[in-house]
Each structure stands twice: as structure tokens, then as C-alpha cells.
């Protein structure tokens, strides 16, 4: 299929100098329904606004059919938008709302009448011409907003979280309708949402974004089955994730055992192994690879969501029948469902919560975020801390750093060593150091206070 839109090296920063989007590249094919998916603040809406022309990129090109439209104002782009809160004109009736774009283009009156009538039939609102905007329900307003955009026959239709104001049932209905409309019109849709389920239901292709960077793009199945990294795995659906390493050809050690895998990652690679709850097999006690103690069983209608513990690990399994809490079950991870991801060693990322005393508890260690960040943070709110391995150093004084552990792996990277330090609870830290340490050395990790970056998790 032909490319309709190409984004090349797009960078966008706001006045405060923080980059919202960094060197982003994306290609959209003609006629596809592509979804930009990510948590709030990931840059997906900014990206959509740049395609629509409401924000201009600081650098990079936006090519429509090969022509740069990156600096054109919205009214000059053959692109229309369905806005988050519909943005219908309250002073116009439904007919005039839908006819607005055609009137701007000075289309013949009779033709406008035909097109509006057709657009209303597409969104299933025949006979609503004379109604006022405020006499319509949320779902109906949503349809009018869609009709108002598609009546202009744009090259690309942008949809900015169009269903977020609707209730759950209505949302499901509208998802199916948007999908149908897309298939009937053959128009290119770019859809923004933070709802992974919605993205799964709708899209030909999903682009997962975080911190202004594309994490992965691909078909829904691909993203679900083979996430590129731990962020995508965690964001899309429910997953069991274990850290470990590749021990042998097509074998990996994680969750305290060695498993056969289909992965071709080289021996020694640090990995995260992911397996979806529906792919975990339950066997009788002693018959599986692992014996685990059931801690809970919640009936979800289509399946039982079973949580079980073994050692210091926890696993979520979707089972067909109820199991007794406290009983022991056997668990197997079938080879074809184990997905290995290369572990990113540039960044240390930990999630935690704010304590009563204003410190932040990250399970394995406690930090004191600066007052600037802590202002307006309530105890119990979730935070994330990130520090880069290049900012982390090692010390043999256990009091010098904020956490201690033993060196578990050493890699020489040109001019320095990258160490993997295994903490006392089996968690991994990555630190760069100029000095050579020995395997198993007891060290503490030192990071300057200003190199910890905190972020509120929503």
C-alpha cells in the first residue's frame, strides 16, 4: 500500500525546553486505521496536533503524499479532526454544523445538502438536521462530530480520544461503528487513545508511545504477543514478567528455573521473560515445572484469575476452574508462549509510593525526592524514579550508596565497565564505573541526588 503520511525526525519542545517528542519517525499507509497509544503525557496528542496543524514541530518534516505540510496552518491541510469534547458549534443546528466545512470551501448549496444528508446517514442520524446541539446525547454529539469531519472527505481523519467522555457500553458500541465506518469509507484514520483495549479492538496497527518516543509499532497481535520491551508488555494487557538471562542456546534462566525458549538471543544476554496469564498451564502439584501456592482466585466471568506464589515470585494465571486458596498447584510455561525481551541497561527504573513522612518507598530502597517535586504530592500516590547507569557509581563502603548488592555481571564497554549489581532481593541495578571490580564483590550504588529523576505515575 502507498504511504500517505510520513513523519521524519520530528522534535517538539515547549517553552520550558522539555522535549515532548524526540526525533520521531512514523509512516502511515493509505487507508489504514492506525492508533497512537500511550499513557497521558507520552506525546501522542501533541503528535496528533502537529499532524492537524494546531502545533508546529520545532524540527523535522511532515510529508503528505511526499509534500511537506509541517508548517501549513490547519485550514490549509486536507485533514480533519474529531475533537475530544466534540467541539460542535452551539450556535448552529446539526445541519449547519456538518455543512460548516463545505461552506468554507464555497461548495454549491445543493451539493452541500446532498453531502450533509449522506454524512448523516453514515453516522445513522437521519432526520436530525434541524436539532440543536444541546438536545443531543453524548453519543449522538460524537456522531455529529464524526459526520462534520468526514463530510469534507479529508485525506486523513484524526480522532483525539473521541470516546473518552462516553460510558463503557456506549464506548464499545462506538468502537465497532468507527471500525465499520472506516472500512466503508476507505479513509485513513489516525486515532489517539490511552485505552489499550480500545486500541486492540479498533486498529490495523498500533503505535505505542512513552516519553515522546515510539516504543513499538505493529499489528495488535504482534504488540500483544511479542512486545518490544517491558514497558509495552506491561502497558498492553496483563503479563507475568521475570528478569533473567540466556544461559544456553534457546535456554533462559528466570523465575528460579531454566526454561526452553524459541528465542535466538545470544548466550549471556540479560533478558526479561514475559508470559501472558492465559498461556500459563496449570497442572497437578509436582507435575509442572514449578509448584506454587495459590493466594487468590477471582472469578471474572470468562475465567478465574488465579494468583500464586513460589519463592519470592508471583504469577497470574487464567484458569478454567476454581482452585482452593492455600492449595499447591503445578505451573508450566509452554515454550512457544515464552517471550524474551532484551533488557535495557541504560536506565534503572523503579516504581514506588510516597510515604507519610514525604520520602518515597521503592520497595528495595527509600529515597527523599526534592521539595519541588514533593509539593502537592499526597502520601500513597505512585511515583517512578529513573537514573541512568552512567550516573551510577560503585563504592565498597556500604554506607556510601542508597542500596547494596553483589556484582553479578561485568561488561567492558570501550572505555568503562557496565556492571549488573544483584540486590539483596534479587533486583538488578545497572551502573557504569571506570574501575574493575570482581564478580561477587559486595558494593553499594552511589547516585548524586540531582541525577534521580522522579515522575508521578497516574
Amino acid at each position: 500500500m502507498e504511504n500517505i503520511l510520513e513523519l521524519k525526525h520530528i522534535t517538539k519542545s515547549y517553552e520550558d525546553g522539555i522535549n515532548v517528542i524526540e526525533d520521531l519517525n512514523l509512516t502511515v499507509k493509505k487507508g489504514e486505521l492506525i492508533t497512537l497509544l500511550g499513557p497521558s503525557g507520552c506525546g501522542k496528542t501533541t503528535l496528533l496536533r502537529m499532524i492537524g496543524g494546531f502545533d508546529l514541530p520545532n524540527s523535522g518534516e511532515i510529508l503528505l503524499h511526499g509534500e511537506d505540510i509541517g508548517q501549513l496552518p490547519p485550514e490549509k491541510r486536507p485533514i480533519n479532526t474529531v475533537f475530544q469534547k466534540y467541539a460542535l458549534f452551539p450556535f448552529l443546528n446539526i445541519y449547519d454544523n456538518i455543512a460548516f466545512g463545505l461552506k468554507q470551501r464555497k461548495v454549491d448549496k445543493n451539493l452541500i445538502r446532498q453531502k450533509v444528508k449522506h454524512a448523516l446517514s453514515v453516522v445513522d442520524l437521519e432526520g436530525f438536521e434541524k436539532r440543536n446541539v444541546d438536545s443531543l446525547s453524548g453519543g449522538q454529539q460524537q456522531r455529529v462530530a464524526v459526520a462534520r469531519a468526514i463530510v469534507n472527505e479529508p485525506e486523513i481523519l484524526l480522532l483525539d480520544e473521541p470516546l473518552s467522555a462516553l460510558d463503557h457500553k456506549m464506548r464499545l458500541e462506538m468502537q465497532a461503528e468507527i471500525r465499520n465506518m472506516h472500512d466503508n469509507l476507505g479513509m485513513t484514520f489516525i486515532y489517539v487513545t490511552h485505552d489499550q483495549e480500545e486500541a486492540m479492538n479498533l486498529s490495523d496497527r498500533i503505535v505505542v508511545m512513552a516519553n515522546g518516543v515510539i516504543q513499538q509499532e505493529g499489528a495488535p497481535e504482534e504488540i500483544y504477543d511479542r512486545p518490544a520491551n517491558i514497558f509495552v508488555a506491561d502497558f498492553i494487557g496483563v503479563s507475568n514478567i521475570f528478569t533473567g538471562d540466556v544461559t544456553d542456546k534457546k535456554r533462559a534462566r528466570f523465575a528460579g528455573k531454566i526454561f526452553k525458549t524459541d528465542s535466538d538471543l545470544p548466550v549471556g544476554t540479560r533478558i526479561e521473560a514475559m508470559i501472558r496469564p492465559e498461556n500459563v498451564e496449570i497442572t497437578g502439584a509436582g507435575e509442572g515445572a514449578i509448584d506454587a501456592v495459590v493466594t487468590s482466585d477471582i472469578y471474572k466471568g470468562s475465567h478465574h484469575e488465579i494468583t500464586a506464589e513460589f519463592g519470592k515470585y508471583e504469577v497470574t494465571v487464567y484458569g478454567k476452574s476454581r482452585v482452593e486458596t492455600g492449595s499447591t498447584i503445578g505451573i508450566d510455561f509452554p515454550r512457544e508462549y515464552i517471550h524474551l525481551m532484551r533488557h535495557d541497561m541504560d536506565m534503572n527504573v523503579f516504581d514506588g509510593v510516597i510515604n507519610q513522612d514525604g520520602s518515597a518507598d521503592f520497595t528495595y530502597f527509600t529515597l527523599a525526592p526534592d521539595a519541588e517535586f514533593m509539593r502537592d504530592k499526597a502520601p500513597g500516590s505512585k511515583v517512578q524514579v529513573v537514573f541512568e547507569s552512567k550516573d551510577a557509581d560503585l563504592s565498597d563502603d556500604p554506607e556510601a550508596g542508597f542500596v547494596t548488592g553483589n556484582i553479578d555481571a561485568i561488561m567492558y564497554i570501550g572505555d568503562h565497565y557496565t556492571y549488573i549489581v544483584r540486590g539483596d532481593n534479587d533486583e538488578d541495578y545497572y551502573a557504569d564505573d571506570d574501575w574493575l571490580w570482581n564478580m561477587g564483590d559486595r558494593v553499594s550504588i552511589v547516585v548524586p541526588q540531582d541525577k534521580f529523576r522522579y515522575r508521578e505515575l497516574i
Partner: protein
């Protein structure tokens, strides 16, 4: 007795009865009676028969119209500029535009009189012009505030939607911004037009000897002619009701 929320309204109801309903009733009674207390329409018919009173009505309408038009022409772009300016200084700018309202109104007109006197030499040369200046000076903030409010609360996504659908600057103003600001314009007009018809203090202080509706009422009452004074008040009341109905209709359609 249990306290009900509606009881909070009692003080206002008492106020309403004593200071609004009762005086209005008195005004109506005087309007439709003559000196000996008999029912008559003579007062009313007299108003429309006399060329002097009709001329006063026309002059009042004209003064109010010119005042309103100029207030609107000045206030609209001012309110737009105020609402669109950066967030922090916006309120200070608005304050500067509204502060004159806090200064005693006679004091303001007196100051204006001195300035005009200095510029024109003698106020008697341009009585109408001076009246309009005084009226605009007096009523401008009442036009700026409601229009500022609609601009300030205007949903930005509607403007984006307009541009998204192909409206350039001019067309965006005519087909989105202007209709969206109609409620502000309508309430600005009601705040300015009707008071401007009766506000004879400005005329008096700026030595404009022509009567407007307010002066007419004043002159009747000064001569203890309660019946005709009430009649003119009733006519003004009817005009106000008429304008409000039209205004309400317009905003509902918008």
C-alpha cells in the same frame, strides 16, 4: 420549626415587597389615575400627543443608540485583546479597564468636564458631542466586562474546530468568534442602552439642556406631578421589557 433552605430567601422577599413591589404598584396606580384619583388613560395619551415628549423619547433613544454603538466598537476589540493577553497580566489589564467604575461617578464626570472645558474652551459649543463622550466614559466598563467574560471562557477547541474545517482568519471571526460572543454583546447592550436612555446626570453636568427620559421624570416630580412622572416611568419600563424580550430571543437563537 424545622429550618428549610427556602427560608434563606425570606429577607430578600421582604425587601422585594417593600422596595420593589409596593413602589411599582404605587407607580401603576398614579399612571392610570388623575389628580382626583379617578381612572384615566389621559396621562398616556398625553405623552403620545405632545410633540415635546415624543421629541424627548426620540432624543433619548438616539443618545442611547450612539452611546451603545460607540461603547460596543471600543469595548469589543478591547475585551478581545484583554482576554487574549498573557495569563498573568490579563487580570491587571482588566482591572485598569474596570477601575473607573470604583470612582464616584459625579467625580468622574466633573473631572471630564474640566478636561473638555480645557480642550474646547466652552462646553456650550458641542453639547451633544460632550454628552456622548460622558456617556461612553460612564458606561464603557459595563460593555467591556460581559464581552471579556465570553472571550475569556470561550472554548478554544471550537476555534480549532473552525480552522480545522477550513476557516481562515476572517471567516473564523465572522462564523465562529462573533456568534460565540453574541451573548456577551447582548448583555453588554442591555447594560448600556437602557441606563443611557435615562441617565440625565451626565447631560446636566455637561450643560446639555436638552431633555432625555430621565430629565422628563425628574421635571414632572419636581413639579409634584406624580401622575405624569409615573406615566413616563411606566413607558420606560415597557421599553425595557420589550428590549429584554428581544434580547432574550436573540441569545436563545444564537
Amino acid at each position: 420549626m424545622r429550618f428549610k433552605r427556602s427560608m434563606l430567601g425570606i429577607p430578600y422577599v421582604i425587601f422585594l415587597i417593600i422596595f420593589v413591589m409596593a413602589p411599582l404598584a404605587v407607580v401603576f396606580v398614579y399612571t392610570f389615575t388623575n389628580g382626583s384619583g379617578q381612572f384615566t388613560l389621559e396621562n398616556f395619551l398625553g405623552f403620545f400627543k405632545s410633540s415635546r415628549t415624543i421629541a424627548t423619547l426620540v432624543y433619548s433613544l438616539f443618545v442611547a443608540l450612539v452611546t451603545t454603538v460607540f461603547c460596543l466598537l471600543i469595548a469589543y476589540p478591547t475585551a478581545y485583546a484583554l482576554a487574549r493577553s498573557g495569563f498573568k497580566k490579563k487580570n491587571i489589564l482588566l482591572l485598569l479597564a474596570v477601575i473607573p467604575m470604583w470612582i464616584n461617578f459625579t467625580l468622574r464626570v466633573t473631572a471630564l468636564k474640566e478636561v473638555l472645558d480645557l480642550v474646547e474652551g466652552n462646553l456650550a459649543y458641542y453639547p451633544f458631542f460632550n454628552t456622548i463622550i460622558g456617556q461612553i466614559y460612564d458606561f464603557l466598563p459595563f460593555m467591556i466586562l460581559p464581552i471579556f467574560n465570553v472571550f475569556d471562557e470561550m472554548d478554544k477547541s471550537l476555534l480549532e474546530a473552525g480552522r480545522d474545517l477550513g476557516a481562515d482568519r476572517k471567516s473564523l471571526f465572522l462564523s465562529v468568534i462573533l456568534p460565540l460572543s453574541m451573548p456577551g454583546i447582548a448583555s453588554g447592550i442591555t447594560m448600556v442602552f437602557l441606563p443611557a436612555m435615562t441617565n440625565y446626570v451626565v447631560l446636566d453636568m455637561l450643560y446639555n439642556s436638552t431633555y432625555i427620559m430621565g430629565s422628563l421624570i425628574g421635571s414632572y416630580f419636581n413639579a409634584y406631578d406624580w401622575h405624569n412622572g409615573s406615566m413616563v416611568s411606566t413607558i420606560l419600563l415597557l421599553i425595557i421589557i420589550l428590549f429584554s424580550l428581544i434580547g432574550k430571543n436573540k441569545t436563545q437563537n444564537a
